[in-house]
């Protein structure tokens, strides 16, 4: 049992509780309130500190790449349509451990395929603490990772296979859906079963990499009448397709903003994030860009870029916690500091969205104190 005493508690849903205590029993949060006294509990003093729910990166590549093997484990590019692939089987716990994500406050990552396949496979969610894998896996089949970016063209077109053009990308998407749906249920392949369960039964949301305006417009046009929840990944030009984003309530997992000239290249207008906030669209951040991950620091940097662009600090916090949890369907366990939820908690020396002088001094995952 632990009691985190006297911290400024950021619940993750926009609420901030001043000078508040959190009681942790086993793996979960038992109680939140002022002046908690519990016999036998270890005290963690959080006076003067900011306490946050663990941050969540919904589409990380690192952790499932299998470095230094010759072929990345999240890149099954033997075929552009492999929705049946389960990222759970590609997790490399040591690769996750090496990143020390929790030192930047990130306690949960969704491990996702690269952007090279039109449908790359199913996201698996795991905790970042170096604990036994049995404890770490939060959810498999958490989302279907798709991509309509140039990476698909570059992967297959160069080998003279479909798709060689953006036309080919969307033709393949349309045909893949039509074929699966027009096949009688008992005759469907496993691949087609996954596609039908995602698009007809909404068994899991879609996380689709799309970056430029024509990729985003094409995707949202083709998905207009689909019921499945669409979340853009990377989405750097989301502001150029704002109307469609709002109308279709599309989620956004903003790619690593500071990577390889994205701002200069896309003329990115992050002030438009406020329109998404106002409309209730979910927004999240990731350490990846173009399907490639960078280190743990860039997650915070993207959050800071959103704040710099005028999004309120606690709204940004939601984008780091509650929103990605909801996107992945794991908000019953993580994403906010509430009674009954997993004790994934970071204690910062300041508010990491508003000041750089904010360092994680204590990290707890599944109720275990890492440092």
């Amino acid at each position: 049992m632990y009691v985190i005493k006297n911290g400024t508690v950021h619940v993750g849903n926009g609420t901030v509780l001043a000078a508040c205590d959190i009681l942790i029993e086993g793996k979960v949060i038992k109680q939140i309130g002022k002046g908690l006294h519990v016999e036998g509990a270890d005290i963690i003093d959080a006076s003067g500190c900011d306490v946050f729910p663990g941050f969540i990166d919904p589409v990380s590549s690192v952790g499932a790449m299998g470095m230094p093997s010759r072929h990345l484990d999240n890149d099954e590019c033997s075929d552009p349509v492999t929705p049946e692939m389960n990222l759970k089987y590609s997790i490399d716990p040591d690769e996750v451990n090496a990143q020390e994500f929790y030192k930047s406050g990130i306690t949960t990552v969704g491990l996702a395929p690269t952007n090279n396949n039109l449908m790359g496979g199913q996201i698996a969610v795991c905790k970042t603490a170096p604990q036994k894998m049995g404890q770490r896996l939060v959810k498999e089949h958490a989302g279907l990772k798709c991509s309509v970016t140039n990476s698909v063209k570059a992967t297959y077109g160069t080998a003279n296979r479909v798709p060689m053009t953006k036309m080919g990308v969307f033709f393949l998407l349309q045909e893949t859906l039509r074929e699966a749906r027009s096949t009688e249920a008992e005759k469907r392949t496993e691949r087609q079963n996954v596609i039908c369960s995602v698009f007809d039964e909404q068994s899991m949301p879609v996380f689709a990499a799309a970056s430029t305006k024509n990729e985003i417009d094409g995707l949202l046009h083709m998905m207009k009448d689909e019921k499945v929840q669409i979340n853009l990944v990377d989405g750097f030009c989301f502001a150029d397709s704002l109307k469609e984003m709002l109308e279709q309530n599309v989620g956004l997992v903003l790619g690593n903003v500071n990577n390889m000239s994205q701002i200069a290249k896309n003329g990115m207008d992050l002030t438009k994030l406020n329109a998404l906030v106002k409309n209730g669209n979910r927004v999240a951040f990731t350490n990846s860009c173009g399907g490639h991950s960078e280190g743990r620091e860039v997650f915070l940097w993207s959050a800071i870029e959103a704040y710099r662009a005028g999004v309120a600090a606690e709204e940004v916090v939601k984008m780091m916690t509650l929103h990605p949890a909801e996107m992945l369907g794991i908000a019953d366990r993580v994403g906010t500091l509430e009674e009954g939820k997993d004790a994934d908690i970071s204690i910062f020396t300041g508010h990491p969205v508003t000041t750089y002088a904010a360092k994680v001094v204590h990290s707890m995952i599944n109720g275990e104190v890492l440092f």
Binding site: M260, S261, A264, V298, I304, Y356, K359
Partner: protein
Amino acid sequence: MGRVLIHGGTIYTMVDGEKPFQGDVLVEDGVIREVAPSIDAADAQLISAEGYCVMPGLFDAHSHIGLFDFNHDKAVDDANEMTAPVSAGVDARYGMNPKARELKVAYEHGITAMLFTPGSGDVFCGQPFVAKTYGDNIFDMTVKAPAAVKIALGGNPKNTYGDRNQLPMTRMGVAQVLWDTFRRAKEYLDKKERGEEQSYDANLEAIIPALKGEIPCKIHCTQYDMLTAIEVAKAYGVRFSLEHAWGATDYLEEIVESGCDICYGPIATYRAAGERRKIDVEAVKLLDDQGVNVALITDSPILSEESLYHHMGEAVREGVSHERVLRMVTVNPVRQLGLEERLGSLEAGKDADIILVRGRIGLDTDAKVMLTMIDGEVVYTAGEYQC
């Protein structure tokens, strides 16, 4: 270009030992004329700095903007010649696109000058230069060329030539090329000074200014390769900086003892075996505490130029004070390159590269440049700036 008075800001001169103070800066013909608590210049055009910090423009000591272009699907690489491991003679100015969009991002974020360098695909990669970030013609924008000898150790040159079954395929091969080239350059210089006849060698010629101590070597290296760099550089008595320097916490004593400079960054690559084993930002604090000249670099456009703020921020997160971190993107890199007569601080006689900032860059995450002046010309004002 007449006289301009920047009035009423909090002046960060970046001069050693000088604390920030309320004051004015007088600029004339592109040069700083005076910095003082109060300057009487009724005839000068007025720029109000009320409520803002006034600082020298920021300096990024390791950039490839305009040499790499990621704005198209097929990335353009004019940074790596990669036709011979010793390509010391190529001049980065000829690979640089002065219309690169990233330059606008740079000066809008207050970065007014940087060192543009060839990449790291060769052992001797070419000649970096220092230039302002605003202008039309890179030769006019240039402050100093060549500004250094760019050298690279480790995976990049190894992979370039390893793929061709050519020396160097290994890190020991890279060390061999390094030793051999310095030896040949030294012999070449000695012969030249003795007036002996020899055939002209453009690549060895390019190394001479480093052997003479006129410019530093900028040596791309990480982890154990830092010891190799130190050993060779010491043997030939060249001034040098270790570029990137990931893993420096394991070699603190050797770095301090060697007297070299450090260009740390980019921060935020994923961690993997080998060169990416340790990304130890805390080294910035430890080295600075021990008197090493540390600069922070973005490697832009690998990481975008605006991430210079985040690089400063990560150093602050590890305990570097705001005052010290500002030096790492102003006077420190400028001194490494011997340009302190012109850049890096607000003092009479220096280039009028000046920025007005709301908040504290590197500490407040929402700090914002309101105005950028380069060579006395206002090249950017933020939408919300009111003069």
